[in-house]
């Protein structure tokens, strides 16, 4: 059995129009701050924190989030996920999210920064019922190295598996292993350094929304050197990818999309989540 470095179990339900925790449990190097209500919509926001400041050699983290019918929740982090060198064993984080019909869960973590000689794996497993809405973003950076070099980490892998009513809906498997890939080359990172993604699943998805988001992405890219794309998924929903040269650029573009989606799907203008 895995011995978890940090564990978090959180289940949320709707109580008379306000989303509240039914169960919160955490142990080890994982914590959530008290819930925050940014507005009077009843949607709750939880900030995850890693008191240790980063992931270390062999660390194992686990999260289990459940959104009951009608629950509306934002889950984010308090700062970038930092993975320090892992000389013996990779660091790992596994998140299982269960969304009941009529729930809304958005998981919007800060960027991932892998340090020199770090190996990190992350797996998100999302099980949705039809009628639930899920929104996810991530940002992969070229990491950090004492000599200022980029892509000095050994390997970073991000896996997203999403099921709707038990059927596979999205499978996304990204791995950056700079030593054995032509990371900079045509077809791969193509000279860009940061990779941003958004995956959204909701019955409410329309071609109009996808077109509007494409327009917003073009507008917020401000003619800078970025490469972006948006496309509809095999289930109602869409994915966005952005290749850019800074975290800020990707955040700006994804935030604009997030705002538009919140307005259209929840009738809400989201509060700024960033805390620094």
């Amino acid at each position: 059995m895995t011995k978890w470095t940090g564990e978090l179990i959180l289940s949320l339900e709707d109580r008379a129009g306000k989303t509240v925790a039914r169960n919160v449990y955490f142990q080890g190097a994982f914590k959530v701050m008290r819930p925050i209500y940014h507005d009077d919509s009843g949607k709750v926001c939880y900030y995850l924190l890693n008191p240790g400041g980063g992931y270390l050699d062999g660390d194992r983290y686990r999260m289990e989030i459940t959104a009951e019918p009608g629950a509306q929740v934002t889950l984010t982090t308090q700062g970038a996920t930092k993975v320090y060198k892992t000389p013996k064993d990779h660091a790992y984080q596994e998140t299982t999210m269960s969304l009941k019909s009529g729930s809304y869960l958005e998981y919007l973590p800060d960027p991932l920064i892998a340090y020199k000689n770090a190996t990190y794996r992350q797996k998100n497993i999302v099980r949705m019922e039809r009628g639930a809405t899920f929104l996810y973003t991530d940002i992969l950076t070229p990491g950090w190295s004492p000599d200022g070099g980029q892509f000095a980490f050994d390997s970073v892998r991000l896996i997203n598996e999403i099921y709707v009513d038990g059927e596979p809906a999205v499978f996304d498997n990204i791995r950056l292993s700079p030593a054995d890939q032509r990371v900079g080359g045509l077809g791969f990172m193509e000279g860009y350094t940061h990779l941003g993604s958004m995956i959204a699943i909701g019955e409410q998805t329309t071609d109009n929304l996808v077109d509007a988001l494409h327009g917003l992405l073009a507008e917020t890219s401000e003619g800078d050197q970025v490469k972006f794309g948006i496309s509809r998924l095999a289930v109602p929903g869409f994915s966005i990818r952005i290749l850019a040269r800074s975290t800020g650029k990707i955040e700006k573009m994804l935030n604009a999309c997030h705002k538009r989606i919140s307005e259209e799907w929840l009738g809400l203008t989201p509060a700024s989540l960033r805390k620094y």
Binding site: F171, Q181, G187, K227, G229, L233, R241, L243
Partner: protein, 228 residues
């Protein structure tokens, strides 16, 4: 052996009527933005497509299909098809791949009546899986008595020679330049096929971000001769 080779020549023919001549898998985006302009830049794209996309999708899928067929487990084949479909995030390449898979299944089912191919065709018809060219090819190659090494290599060859023909029309390249490229890329084909067989399950569907983005962007490319 000769009989099987002749059968494989037919299945790998770039003129095979499966609809693949209508799909560029994002190549057209690179042609439109002048990144791919000649034989050299196309070879760079093709090498990346082969090593960073096909190996992790079609290559691993072929190997998994062989594992499943040897265990007589068609449910596993269905699951591989579903996973191949949903890991293909760009809509046009996902739908295009499905259409080619359907076309190939229809044709190969007319040519051969291997029991697994018939059973797979029924699963597709009952919408219990999504047809995919790598799966249809692997099942047919298995029926012909090919090893898994042969199956992956010939499937890669058929796919790559089809893409070269598309590039000859679209860039355009001379027919001779296309043939020279097909000749030149042979070592990489063999090397990638060998590597694909050793890749672990966890590498299934690994994304090449630039390729995937160009496949998404193709939806909004102005001048299009391809459907993806």
């Amino acid at each position: 052996m000769t009989e099987r080779l002749l059968a494989l020549f037919q299945l790998c023919d770039s003129n095979l009527p499966t609809g693949s001549f209508s799909h560029s898998f994002g190549l057209e985006t690179y042609i439109q933005d002048n990144t791919v302009t000649d034989s050299e830049s196309f070879e760079e794209w093709l090498s990346c497509y082969l090593e960073e996309q096909l190996a992790y999708t079609d290559g691993i899928a072929c190997r998994m299909v062989y594992d499943a067929l040897e265990a007589g487990d068609l449910d596993a084949v269905s699951a591989i098809g579903a996973k191949l479909h949903v890991q293909n995030l760009p809509r046009e390449t996902r739908q295009g791949t499905r259409m080619i898979g359907e076309g190939m299944l229809k044709l190969f089912s007319r040519l051969y009546d291997f029991p697994f191919l018939t059973d797979y065709g029924r699963l597709v018809k009952e919408k219990r899986t999504v047809p995919h060219p790598a799966i249809v090819f692997a099942i047919t190659a298995h029926g012909l008595g090919c090893s898994r090494e042969e199956a992956v290599l010939y499937h890669f060859y058929g796919t790559v020679s089809g893409l070269i023909q598309n590039a000859v029309r679209a860039i355009p390249l001379g027919q001779t330049a296309g043939q020279m490229l097909l000749n030149r890329i042979r070592p990489l084909l063999r090397q990638t096929a060998e590597k694909a067989l050793t890749l672990p399950d966890e590498d299934f569907g690994l994304v090449a971000p630039g390729l995937e983005l160009s496949q998404m962007q193709h939806e909004r490319v102005n001048v299009r001769i391809f459907m993806s």
